[in-house]
Symmetry: C2
């Protein structure tokens, strides 16, 4: 691999022009690309200096606590704050009366900052207190007296959809928050022409992000503006919603991202925490910090949406897929947030995996009196891939084709176009299938089967950014090259723990020819940095990476032009490497020219009419804004995964052990192997939690004990032997060939665990998680408690 | 006055092109220019939220204290830190052995971060301690045992220049730190042709900046980089020197400006505080904060340079000035800092006031074993204007011409060129002289004189930026227009209390058509903001103002182009006012088009290939880098002042009361009247301190009681009735016609007080301050203690 920097000025056009389609020749990639560069925040994090939401300290700062509904559905008769207000140390108590009484929400405004008239789930915010310390605030919160008139509640999808069910919101008839449907390609006709049809119902459940850091905010007002230090994934998008919720213009709200201790979709600004914090700080006239307890995080954050899929798949007898039909209902909980968008993705995304002739869907988002649900790593795909994956696994069994072979027969490839106009660019899905099969030893294990062990494979597709908040999924950046030889990348995307700032620093370093240690990537601040959608939809590497690359190219052009003038050499002869501008020896000399970048920058500045070197770059995802029926190429680049698992089931107890799991990921060029590996491994762990361990016992609309004691995250003991591989892949529109990688490896996990259990002991579980109890009854009472739903003709 | 914004796109060229020479027609100035806009930091400051150096709080932060020399000159025999190290709570003790043993300094590197071998003034830093709190650190500092061998010291200019004097630095023969001389125009020949020659010796003394906030720093290391939060006036220049002092590359030091509680030249990074703080933090492995006590500020900051001028002036009998000759020696103290540059300004600057035919000078900067001296508001001019002003006042008396008339006869005007090639652009010096005379009631008072009252006038010239740290005196800025309708100005100049961020916000607001409240101006951070020389030489309004104006113009062009596309109207029809893009009604319609700026910005972003709006602008002072003999047009714009004073002297005690003081200032367009007024009033107060109240009793090279008890700042009781006027003036190269205003009003004050005292009671004081004692003896023992040194032929 070449260690020299290929100057941007030689390979790139103007910074705003479309990215050049570099050939997938690894030799042209700068050395820093594909290298295990140390995280730029490594030292800060391991030394404890990184400042998370609760580490913000402002003079005179108060602490907040929230009063929450103990009822799933009730009318608020009265709220008496007088006792709380009299507690020494309390500076403000706020209720709905202190708010602008405006409903807000990312897509469907249905949430008040503090409940007015009604509460709609156990955890709904009614009042809040700011006091000199957390303990006082919590004591005061307990002193707020709320009188309720309890109302009948709908605590499941079935109850919500039942005839005459109580309404969660009066303006949502039938408790429907959103619905849409399509029939593309004529599903009925293709089912008629099918030789094999499989069918079943599969249900996923709530899963909590369980980030090690809970949601938190610190708010401070200055005249009529509020600054919010928030551990949000999406500072700019969150600000927009907070401004709406506060009844204030956008300009009156500034959001600054703190360190974020895990996001996974749960910190994307759909909950009330920051809004309440701002209202408390306004009334108290002092800064206020409000950080969720772990219990509150379970009660009132926005967990994964439970979805129930009725799936039907058709095939020809030789295994070609014909049609797919799904009827899906999703549990919105009491308020909508991003669930509406998740519904869309969970309905169409997986159709970009196989060459379906026709797809039909009906999807409904259903209000219940349960905790509102929302975005979670995978954005609906883990539920979709589980349900549809089960149907594919059934089909493989019915067709007598090994799943890897069935997938290979039907998989999309570069140039494929899905029924929803997903236009597949780079695609190594088939390579991934082959590599996952090989890594798990599929055919060897099939040749020598072990009792009670089962094998399964699943595949998934994800986006690299997704056009969903308007007809834009772009990013922009400024790159200032400084006279100390360092560069600052001013970009608003942020860091939620994935290493995004490191990856962006690598891209800038590669483009500028600087060491990564000499790059600073700013943290998002809506006042300061360029607008960015933030960390969602696996978009940062692809979208922001391209923007940063262009800005760095633009800066590098200026650098080389300056050096050319200073050295009196054509820019085309110059290149930058390790922070030094190089030129071959001048004629009649044999000493190569080497000038440190900082020296060139300083000389460009310190002269009459001196100029700074600042590059600008912007990139918009080359995608389409999908229409109401979700037709449209939602991303410019799709990433793929194939995962295979081997499990062992103890038939005496139903206990399942995942022995090995192989993941082969197509995320284009891997910019930083340990970071990518970390994303894949973490996603698999989170997938195993969803598949096997994570659930609560519920009563009256609330988890009976909302803590990690009852809600079991997958620990090291649950983790199988892992084989993680990255496909040989190059995405022409990506920065140095890269695509997104943050979510995809989670998606197939529930499906492969379920399929492997079915392969091992013939029991197919239809509702997550896949517990020993369900497997046990499936083995020991197959007719009563477990049911094989596949049918064929 | 028009309230509409004249769009930059109509009146300006490309952002990097020379500024257009707008006609001095006030009607074209945007309404926000010349308006009493509230300071952007007003609320932060009055509510106590503004964070000064001592307000920085970092986790695990320690506090520092410094061990200083009690001797003016001594050899360090030994330093024993063991007792200090053993004090509980102490985390680090550092001495010269912990430093890189590198001498540093802005112009002449002669200062170690911590003394090695020798100490050279009372206050010289020898060691420092970091401990859990300030009290422990100070106790530990007292436990550091230093054994000295006291050496003979030079404690005055005369002692330093005496034959065989001890040397302060072995490599500075004759204790000369710097000297230069010139004879331009042939002074001897012009003196030969003169009818009247006046001559005298005048001496100024140390004056301390006495900023309400002392010098302070907080240092934190992360691996091999240190971040310094400093209340510095010049973050970028200071960083360069700190890096040198630490023996580290520039890239290893990041400087972030805190709020600055007064600068006046004293916080421009020539002292050791930040360097010691960094060394302490490195050794302690924890952040350290080091803030001067008031006593330390007197002992070891960098006060005004005492200068002794021998001045000779020649005139024709009708009052035309012919030649000037000065021989000046300046007290450098023990280390050089910026004194070398001050020496230059104090020698040549005032020659841009009058049409001298010839000027000759010899200037010497002399090492003494006293506190090092440096930059102070006026940068040498207050001493020069005092000494030379006294000679002019003598001349007026000898010529029998009233001072205002003598000044008018000889004053420069637009188009004048000084002997040093100062090229005078806009110049309303004569207008200022007339207005100051009128405001003080000069001729009325002359017509009806009052016993023991005296009148005087003085004039001065200052620069608007000064080319002195290399062939560059420019600035650059980025302006991002955001989708909330606000703009951020990313610029590294900073704020030291003068209101610079407010003025820059006004300029951006004017150019963008936004309310000032919608502009954020960044604080300097050497990692983030564009390079800037900072707050020195009255440069920020003129130099940075032009850069910000161009960047805002560039952004406004993009805004109007975007609006033109969105509205399908030519950009030439559009304008921006109060945050709204306006267009006249379309054909066949009578509704004017109005779109908020934020809506346009958002629409420009939220579309396929959406683009952010970011403007770049740079401006370099159109000036020349003076040569070693100070020949060269040091600034692109000169500001002027004329001041007149009436004093009353009590002949029984010598006590002087300044009754009235009139200042007429030519600073071009006044961008913000209260801010400009504040600069003028504050400068006059500081000038009165220098003239009358500020001095110490000294013993053995140190003030006997370094506190405000002995060192008397001028209080409200000292302030005369003030008349502050601004000349009708417009500087074509300035932003909206503006020039600098931060320093000039201080310069003439000592001179006019002295001249008015001479006018009142015939006593001319030759050494500042002008105390009652000196006047008393001048009245009651004129031959013994006070001496009129003028002579003529």
């Amino acid at each position: 691999m070449s260690t020299a920097h290929v100057p941007a000025a030689r390979t790139a056009g103007a910074p705003q022009a479309p990215a050049p389609e570099l050939p997938p020749d690894r030799a042209v990639l700068p050395a820093v690309i594909g290298t295990a560069v140390q995280r730029v925040d490594a030292v800060e994090k391991v030394t404890g200096r990184a400042a998370y939401a609760a580490d913000v300290r402002l003079p005179r700062m108060l602490h907040g606590a929230v009063v929450r509904s103990p009822h799933a559905h009730a009318r608020i008769v009265s709220v008496d704050t007088s006792l709380a207000e009299r507690l020494p140390g309390v500076h403000a108590v706020v209720t709905g009366a202190d708010t602008a009484r405006i409903k807000w929400g990312a897509f469907r405004p249905d949430l008040y900052p503090l409940a007015l008239e009604k509460v709609r789930y156990v955890g709904d915010e009614i009042a809040a207190v700011a006091a000199v310390d957390v303990e006082t605030a919590r004591r005061a919160a307990e002193l707020v007296r709320v009188e309720y008139e309890v109302l009948p509640a709908v605590l499941s999808l079935d109850e919500a959809l039942a005839e005459g069910a109580p309404l969660v919101h009066d303006d949502a008839a039938g408790n429907l928050a959103h619905e849409f449907s399509f029939d593309r390609g004529g599903a009925d006709a293709w089912f008629d022409r099918s030789d094999v049809i499989v069918e079943g119902v599969w249900q996923s459940t709530r899963q909590w992000h369980s980030s090690i850091e809970t949601i938190g905010c610190t708010a401070e007002w200055s005249q009529d503006r509020v600054t919010l230090w928030v551990n949000t994934q999406t500072p700019f998008l969150a600000r927009q919603r907070y401004a709406t919720a506060l009844g204030m213009p956008l300009r009156a709200v500034r959001v600054v991202q703190t360190e974020v201790g895990g996001g996974f979709g749960g910190k994307s600004g759909d909950d009330n925490t920051s809004v309440i914090c701002a209202i408390l700080a306004r009334k108290a006239g002092r800064p206020v910090q409000l950080v969720n307890t772990r219990e509150e995080e379970f009660l009132a954050s926005r967990p994964r949406i439970p979805m129930r899929y009725h799936v039907r798949l058709g095939f020809t007898s030789d295994g070609l897929v014909t049609a797919k039909d799904i009827d899906m209902i999703a549990d919105n909980g009491a308020y909508t947030g991003k669930a509406q968008a998740v519904l869309g993705a969970a309905t169409v995304r997986h159709d970009a995996l196989f060459n379906y002739r026709a797809v039909r869907a009906r999807s409904r988002l259903v209000y219940t009196n349960l905790v509102p649900t929302g975005a979670f790593r995978g954005f609906g795909n883990p539920s979709a891939d589980w349900a549809v994956g089960q149907a594919w696994d059934l089909a493989a069994t019915r067709l007598g084709i090994e799943p890897p072979d069935l997938f290979l027969l039907n998989a999309v490839e570069a140039g494929s176009v899905s029924p929803h106009n997903h236009r597949i660019g780079s695609c190594e899905l088939k390579q991934c299938i082959r590599r996952a099969a090989k890594a798990i030893g599929w055919y060897e294990k099939r040749a020598a089967p072990t009792p009670n062990r089962g094998l399964a494979m699943g595949v998934s597709v994800h986006v690299s950014g997704r056009r969903s908040f308007g007809d834009y999924d772009g990013s922009s950046a400024m790159v200032r090259l400084a006279e100390d030889g360092r560069a600052v990348v001013i970009v608003g995307e942020g860091e939620i723990g994935t290493g995004a700032r490191t990856t962006l620093a690598q891209i800038a370093a590669a483009e500028l020819g600087l060491p990564v240690a000499d790059i600073t990537v700013t943290r998002p601040d809506t006042d300061l940095t360029t607008h960015a959608l933030g960390a969602l939809a696996s978009r940062v590497t692809y979208v922001a990476g391209n923007a940063v690359k262009r800005a760095a190219e633009h800066a590098c052009e200026q650098l080389l032009a300056a050096a050319a003038r200073q050295l009196d050499r054509p820019a085309s002869e110059l290149w930058v490497e390790d922070g030094v501008v190089h030129a071959p020896p001048a004629a009649g000399d044999d000493t190569p020219v080497q000038v440190p970048v900082g020296v060139v920058v300083r000389a460009e500045l310190y002269r009459p009419d001196g100029q700074p070197i600042v590059g600008m770059g912007a990139f918009d995802n080359p995608s389409e804004f999908p229409d109401q029926s979700r037709f449209g190429n939602e991303s410019g680049a799709y990433n793929f995964v194939a995962e295979a698992a081997e499990v062992e089931v103890d038939p005496a107890t139903g206990a399942v052990t995942v022995l090995e799991l192989a993941a082969a990921v197509d995320c284009g060029t891997v910019l930083n192997p340990p970071l990518a590996q970390g994303q894949v491994e973490g996603a698999i762990a989170q997938g195993l939690g969803m598949a096997i361990t994570e659930r609560f016992a519920w009563a009256d609309g609330a988890p009976t004990r909302p803590s990690f004691t009852d809600y079991k995250l997958p620990t090291a003991g649950v983790m199988p032997k892992l084989h993680v591989e990255f496909a040989d892949s190059y995405e022409p529109t990506g920065p140095y060939g890269a695509k997104g990688v943050g979510e995809i490896a989670l998606d197939p996990v529930p499906s492969i665990v379920a399929s492997a259990v079915a392969d091992a002991v013939g029991v197919r579980v239809h509702e997550l998680p896949i517990t020993a109890e369900k497997i046990y009854w499936g083995i020991h009472d197959p007719d009563g408690r477990a049911r094989e739903e596949g049918e064929s003709r």
